[in-house]
Point group: C2
Chain length 591, copies 2
Amino acid sequence: MEMYRTHECGKLSLENVNQEVVLTGWVQKRRDLGGLIFIDLRDRSGIVQLVVNPETSKEAHEIADKLRNEYVIAVKGIVVKRSENTINPNIETGQIEVELKEINIINEAKNPPFFIQDHIDIDETLRLKYRYLDLRRNEMKNTLILRHKATTFIRNFLDKHGFLDIETPMLTKSTPEGARDYLVASRKHPGHFYALPQSPQLFKQLLMVAGLERYYQITRCFRDEDLRADRQPEFTQVDIEMSFMPLQEFQDLMEEMMVGLFKETIGYEVPRPFPRITYQEAMERYGSDKPDIRFGMEIKDLTEVFNNSEFKVFRSTIENGGQIKAINAKGAAHYSRKDIDQLTEFVARYGAKGLAWLAFKEDGVKGSIAKFVTEEELSQLRLILEIEVGDLILFVADSKKVVADALGNLRLKLGKDLNLIPQDVYRFLWVTDFPLLAYDEEEGRYVAEHHPFTMPRVEDIPLLDTDPLKVRAQAYDMVLNGYELGGGSLRIYKQEIQEKMFKTLGFTKEEAWDKFGFLLEAFEYGTPPHGGIAFGLDRIIMLLAKRNNLRDTIAFPKTAGANCLLTGAPSIVDHRQLEELHLEIKENIKA
Amino acid sequence: MEMYRTHECGKLSLENVNQEVVLTGWVQKRRDLGGLIFIDLRDRSGIVQLVVNPETSKEAHEIADKLRNEYVIAVKGIVVKRSENTINPNIETGQIEVELKEINIINEAKNPPFFIQDHIDIDETLRLKYRYLDLRRNEMKNTLILRHKATTFIRNFLDKHGFLDIETPMLTKSTPEGARDYLVASRKHPGHFYALPQSPQLFKQLLMVAGLERYYQITRCFRDEDLRADRQPEFTQVDIEMSFMPLQEFQDLMEEMMVGLFKETIGYEVPRPFPRITYQEAMERYGSDKPDIRFGMEIKDLTEVFNNSEFKVFRSTIENGGQIKAINAKGAAHYSRKDIDQLTEFVARYGAKGLAWLAFKEDGVKGSIAKFVTEEELSQLRLILEIEVGDLILFVADSKKVVADALGNLRLKLGKDLNLIPQDVYRFLWVTDFPLLAYDEEEGRYVAEHHPFTMPRVEDIPLLDTDPLKVRAQAYDMVLNGYELGGGSLRIYKQEIQEKMFKTLGFTKEEAWDKFGFLLEAFEYGTPPHGGIAFGLDRIIMLLAKRNNLRDTIAFPKTAGANCLLTGAPSIVDHRQLEELHLEIKENIKA
């Protein structure tokens, strides 16, 4: 018989009844019921039930009897309507089945090491080793299909708005901050190395100098660093840069893209415009530069309230220039001492030396600082924190940074613990006005928070001379549900601002040219005003698909240890390969 | 004034007359004519002429006076119709000009090292070093725009036909034939290396095992090899794989894609279906597996004709199992001895020990073998080679391989020399039935011509035991104007054929598993019939854009020596970076 299908399994419906069809795919399941054999046949489109009746075809029945899960088969048969009581509402094709005349075993299959079905509870290492089986499962397959739809949407959106897809090099130059560069050895240039790009930043700026005006690329980037749960050594970036476009117009366009993406791929309506919040405000209200605004529980500043506190810790914190802030854990007044001890341990991870608390119970205010708090203070707390009976107030008194870190993370933890975070909403926002500089104690100088080409806010430029840490950058992040989806900035395009920036960073002109020579040279030949953004595609897909880790969004990901469990990369290579590269592995490692 | 444009330079037309516009861009040219200053302003869309009249704005005139080429400016003015005698038919906007009221210098520019215009005759190394200026030139900018349009078309075509864009790893495992792999050192796994992919071949086959059915990816591939004029160390592949689809249907789809691509991007109508020719026939008729069929001059076999030749060289060639073949260089009978000596030198490069010739002149047949050729032979030659007076016939007598190489290349050379190749046509064809195996004298065994998973023609499978070199593969190339655009094959999906193949290649089962373990293991879990193709995108763009080298199709290419002249990659890296990788460069190179 012919091996080529006339229809896809998952697309058969009542409309096909009485048609003869050829189908191909994998055996999902086989059951023998009173002489009839039922087969669930799976292809990319879905599953359909096949019925093999020995009275229709003895030969087909004999073959069906030999089938095992994951065999690849081609079948021919007639689509029939199922009787009312056998309709399966759980699958798309549940109203019909196919009565087989012929079966052809295209390929046999060993018994897979795990079931090809959703929500299996097995070790991820096994899934990664047998990724080609893992990807047969609906939830994985559907994530890849969603990823395809998302990139297709993004590309077409950017194309429509005049952005050109331009490829930039993968074999490029190690940068001065190349500590996390992956190095590539070169046969033709022994002792010399290419670096894999951490981002196409320099090249996209060069494309703006080249007058291409609007660029995008969905491209792989690489970072050789300790891997966190949500990082991969290679990751995909939606990289965008534009010239001659007002920032507001550009950000509007990026909003429009995200709104379209969520609508087209998962049918979710994101409201516009996205809220905007400055970095400073985000840190104050949420203790985070990527606030999850799906729920409230904002951090409130109580430093004023406790100006004359009897509580020594509060008073000395204020005297030392610190802050007292708190969150209201709604309805958590019933938390036990043990619960609160655990929260205290939790905030300790972020440097907080303690966690003061007040529980507002039916029978009064209890808590670690209850005896120090005056009625006047209590009434102010009630107002500021909108306290009701049943609430638990948690205080951290410390430096600004520790307070933000501790309460920001505590807020997220309690949001989850208290089930305050709606799981089916997407809340976007822009975080703007990031600081331009940080002070590096180790190097004893200011360093760029983003990169040294980030444009300061024009009105802050004089502060570069007087108070550099106060300078706000024209830098912005798009944040979704507590994740940074992407970040960008306007770039410096004026020589005099660039020179001022380098001076602030403590570079002489020579040092600056040593580090960024070819880019600085390019900037001398007529640089337009430009800026851009880079989104983390893997993370966008993770949120769209409601998956819990980035690995589930990638066909062949690496482990946290940067290993590919399927292929065994990285691996030891033939010594001849190293010889050709004029490289030696140090003795202490060779073993 | 506002710095943001209301219009693009190249899109202004008579429809905009009397409108006030803001434009931004680069100064292409500035002329001072009797007090009026004329500026050609360029942005990505094109060029428009600006006029600055000191009587309209003294200030604008003073600024205009300071402008130099490649300054970045923003201007405000009124669009006016040009008088009849000043219309410039050479530019799109030649019917109008813009009378300026204001100019704002956004950025100055140094004098560029070459003119920003098409058809400049300067050293390519200078263009590569200042690539951001080179890309400002129309012909380069337009090639990048064409590339964008081409990839956009291909993606949307494949999306429409159910192919999923799935990303495969860049950090992967060095393959057993990894001689040309680029190696990436890993900080976390000292002494271990990733390899950059030469192609996603294994992963796309795994995606078929995973049941994704139709995959595509426009992706970077890497090969560390001696670079020819038309190779880059990193190149872009349009990689496609499908399951459960008849080969003919797949090839039809690929034809449809190419036809659509050429129509959409450059408006060229490619006729379908593409001609098909077997590898064997291509070698016989054109001496090449990627024949340029834009012209005739086919190679004719004359071995039979010269069976009883008096010419000793011909006779001994035949006795030794060789061939006598010739091409008809139409109208080249006037070629001088010197011309023919040069052609003889040319074929010598391909191993031909000589080049016999006959010139059919008004006054008779002349030539190196004229005196050996009988009337009977001449009349057969006239028939087979369709000889007319004025033609030059060139013969090579040698082994099959040398004859094909020498005459195939001679044909291409004469096609160019005699101007027989129409420059404005595209002639596609499929070359099919490539040999499955070659014999490697050095290794003393058969080796796969493509890769060991290529499917033989089913009727040839028994020949694997008896005459392996005769086995034809289900492998095919798409060829255009003498270039291989892409190649592919059906893959082996049956264990018993795969085992037979390995046996023919001289591998024991253990050796085969050593080399291809994880893929062979995957094939055991239910492999569908599958196959695919990979196109070289850079080459497609080169042909579409009628450029002469691949570098012109790539924004930031490498030289033949694999250097990036713009960034200086590859480069020496900080010794601390190597220390972290536990690598040492061998002493003899360090200097």
